[in-house]
């Protein structure tokens, strides 16, 4: 029991993922800044931003459901914390891919609930975009993950890691490479990073679903986002490049994160119809191709 609480709250759950996530967002901001000929923030800036937000007043708009409005951020935070605890869990029985897919749905759902509860037209449009985006990227994401399942004959993360230790990394095979590319784009959308930052689209919807949030609830949303910056690339690294918390894994994680940051900085924002077409067309096609190749044993 104590071990489970420790796993959930400290390592590899909440505290670890939060720290790693905040550092990852700092890396994102720093690399972005250097790409744009700016200096960029010091390493503790994301933490300072978070601390500042936590000290601000919490404003709840008139006439909204307080429980949904204030509960939504916690809902998302719980989801991402669980995923982190599961991916690196020492106990293998919880490390199930399907559970991870479910739990990764929680942060977008939290954004949709929060945005819809805000009674603001911009938030509502942002929430509806988030909903469409979830529908768009889930299909290729799941297809890509099941390519891995097909190849390793297991849905246990521990088994998938062991398979890769024995018979080579997933990304080394053709099907694994295609599946990785499709999953990477889906992760880009899950992170809400350009070119898939449509729900928040600063220039069109101000902050979209987060527009009415302030103070601590906003900090929780930001923290959830930051933790996703650690959890999602780490998840991809575990599934496609093998796991284990060692220096090699850090390198693999950084490679995935760098890819995400580069995609983010070399593209404009897509329109929602373009995003749907992209995910249901080429990206799903790529994932399906990977699945077929895996079927053929490539």
């Amino acid at each position: 029991m104590m071990a489970m609480i420790f796993n959930f709250l400290i390592f590899p759950g909440f505290l670890f993922a939060a720290g790693a996530g905040l550092l990852a967002t700092w890396l994102d901001r720093k690399v972005t800044a250097r790409l744009q000929y700016r200096v960029g923030p010091p390493w503790f800036q994301p933490l300072a931003d978070l601390a500042k937000l936590l000290g601000k007043e919490i404003i709840v708009p008139e006439g909204v459901s307080r429980s949904v409005f204030l509960g939504a951020p916690l809902f998302g935070l719980a989801g991402v914390t669980l995923v982190s605890a599961i991916i690196f869990s020492p106990a293998p029985f919880v490390g199930d891919l399907i559970v991870v897919i479910y739990l990764l749905m929680l942060p977008p759902l939290a954004v949709i609930f929060g945005g819809s509860a805000s009674r603001n037209p911009l938030s509502a449009i942002g929430a509806s975009r988030e909903m469409k985006l979830v529908l768009a990227y889930e299909l290729p994401f799941i297809l890509a993950l099941f390519t891995v399942v097909l190849k390793t004959h297991s849905i246990m993360i521990g088994e998938i890691v062991r398979y890769q230790n024995l018979s080579g990394l997933m990304i080394g095979s053709l099907s694994g490479l295609f599946a990785f590319a499709a999953a990477l784009l889906a992760v880009q959308a899950k992170l809400g990073a350009v070119p898939f930052d449509l729900p928040e689209a600063e220039q069109e919807l101000a902050a979209g679903p987060l527009l009415e949030y302030s103070g601590a609830p906003l900090a929780v949303f930001r923290l959830t986002r930051a933790m996703l910056y650690f959890v999602l690339p780490a998840f991809l690294a575990v599934i496609f490049m093998g796991g284990g918390l060692d220096p090699w894994f850090m390198l693999k994680y950084l490679i995935v994160l760098t890819l995400i940051i580069l995609i983010k900085n070399t593209n404009p924002r897509l329109r929602i119809d373009h995003a749907l077409r992209l995910f249901w067309g080429p990206v799903s096609g790529l994932a399906a191709l990977a699945f077929i190749l895996a079927w053929l044993g490539k």
Binding site: T32, L35, Q36, Y37, R38, P121, L122, A124, I125, S128, R129, V194, P195, D197, L198, A201, E202, Q203, E204, A206, N265, T266, N267, P268, R269, L270, R271, I272, D273, H274
Partner: protein, 394 residues
């Protein structure tokens, strides 16, 4: 409001254009079904202010109309005053005016390309375009001592000479290569193309009907450019092309602006090479009485100044028509039917400049009714014309 659609306000507090304007987009889902624009948050009464200044002081006043194209207003204004009594400007001053006018076009267009990238959520383009705009501002500082508000123009000539020709030629070469690089990077990007092609199309007949000017008109296939149509300053002594495209969408507007930067660099280079030593100021003492009109092809299109003088040292009437005033209403034709994601970009595609465009409305305080509307002003003006006709008949 009896409309059923959702109202999306993009207003003074929205981080879209950092200028005081207010768009109301009525949307169904993500589709814009109606749009309204409201300006007038920042009316400064420049025309009236100008009447209290001497002809020389008013040059500085009109320079402060716009922070971006700060030389286009003095350019048109001094031409209007010179037009009153046909003041001849020394040749070297004409060349310097041309150089300043087209340097400004480069920095203004680069600024817009950066903003367009920002509106697309493509902040890398934003930062890069503004980085490459910086050398242009440095050139301005070297010439005039200021990055903006150069204070170069005066009635009858210019205030400062350009001396370092060789250094400027090299700086212009650098600027041109930046522009070419940016042109390639933006034009060849497939995602940018997907976002901009066939979006916010202003058809040729709409462009004519709305009376749009500048790059907006040229992107819709109208070959209008004051520099070519009514050559002034040194524009008839240099070779350059008016870039015209047919599509009318935002992609064309972007491409035209970038291509115009390259043309402007050519104009500046020719001017620098052709310039001969000589006086830069006609030393005007009297303006005289009469009326004058001055035009200039500003980065956003044709700007017109009308000045009426009564022989004193002050303009009796000063009327300004900025290009954005013509371009802003074209939103009504371009934004309806497009998605909200594109609406922000479409409104920005005409490169609107609100500080140039500000107008005011007179309202009766008791009822809140707008008096002196467009029709009322037309009626008043027609009544006045009738009175004049009666008076003329005696």
């Amino acid at each position: 409001m009896d409309k059923k659609e959702t109202l999306i306000p993009i207003g003074p507090y929205h981080p879209l254009l950092e200028e005081p304007e207010f768009f109301k987009f009525y949307v169904e889902g993500e589709k814009v079904v109606d749009a309204e624009v409201r300006i007038g948050y920042n009316h400064r009464g420049i025309e009236k202010l100008s009447e209290a200044k001497t002809f020389d002081q008013a040059t500085f006043t009109v320079e402060r109309i716009c922070g971006i194209c700060s030389t286009s207003h003095p350019f048109a204004y001094v031409r209007a005053v010179e037009d009153i009594s046909g003041i001849a400007v020394p040749e070297r001053a004409e060349y310097i005016r041309t150089i300043i006018g087209d340097l400004e076009r480069i920095h203004s267009h680069l600024l817009w390309v950066g903003l367009a990238g920002h509106f697309l959520g493509y902040n890398t383009v934003f930062m890069w375009a503004w980085k490459y705009r910086e050398p242009v501002l440095d050139i301005f500082e070297a010439i005039s001592g200021n990055r903006n508000h150069y204070g170069m123009f005066k009635v009858g000539g210019v205030r400062r000479d350009i001396n370092d020709i060789a250094g400027l030629l090299k700086a212009i070469d650098d600027v041109e290569s930046f522009c070419n690089m940016l042109l390639k990077a933006v034009i060849d990007d497939p995602v940018i193309k997907a976002r901009l092609k066939n979006v916010g199309v202003l058809k040729k007949e709409d462009a004519i009907a709305m009376g749009v000017v500048g790059p907006v008109a040229r992107a819709s296939g109208l070959a209008i450019d004051v520099r070519k149509d009514h050559p002034y300053a040194a524009y008839d002594r240099v070779k350059f092309e008016t870039i015209v495209m047919e599509g009318g969408d935002i992609f064309n507007k972007t491409a035209i602006r970038l291509l115009e930067c390259v043309e402007s660099a050519k104009i500046i280079r020719q001017c620098l090479k052709q310039m001969r030593p000589g006086p830069i100021d006609a030393a005007v003492r009297e303006v005289g009485a009469g009326e004058g009109i001055g035009q200039h092809e500003a980065p956003r299109g044709e700007v017109i100044h009308y000045v009426k003088a009564n022989g004193s040292n002050y303009p009796e009437r000063h009327k300004i028509r900025a290009p954005s005033f013509m371009n802003v209403p074209s939103f009504k034709r371009t934004v309806i039917g497009e998605s909200l994601a594109d609406a922000a970009l479409i409104t920005a595609a005409v490169d609107p400049c609100y500080c140039c465009t500000e107008r005011m409305a007179a309202v009766e305080p008791e009822t809140g009714r707008v008096i002196l509307t467009g029709q009322e002003l037309v009626r008043l003006s027609q009544e006045k014309t009738e009175q004049m006709k009666v008076k003329l008949r005696g």
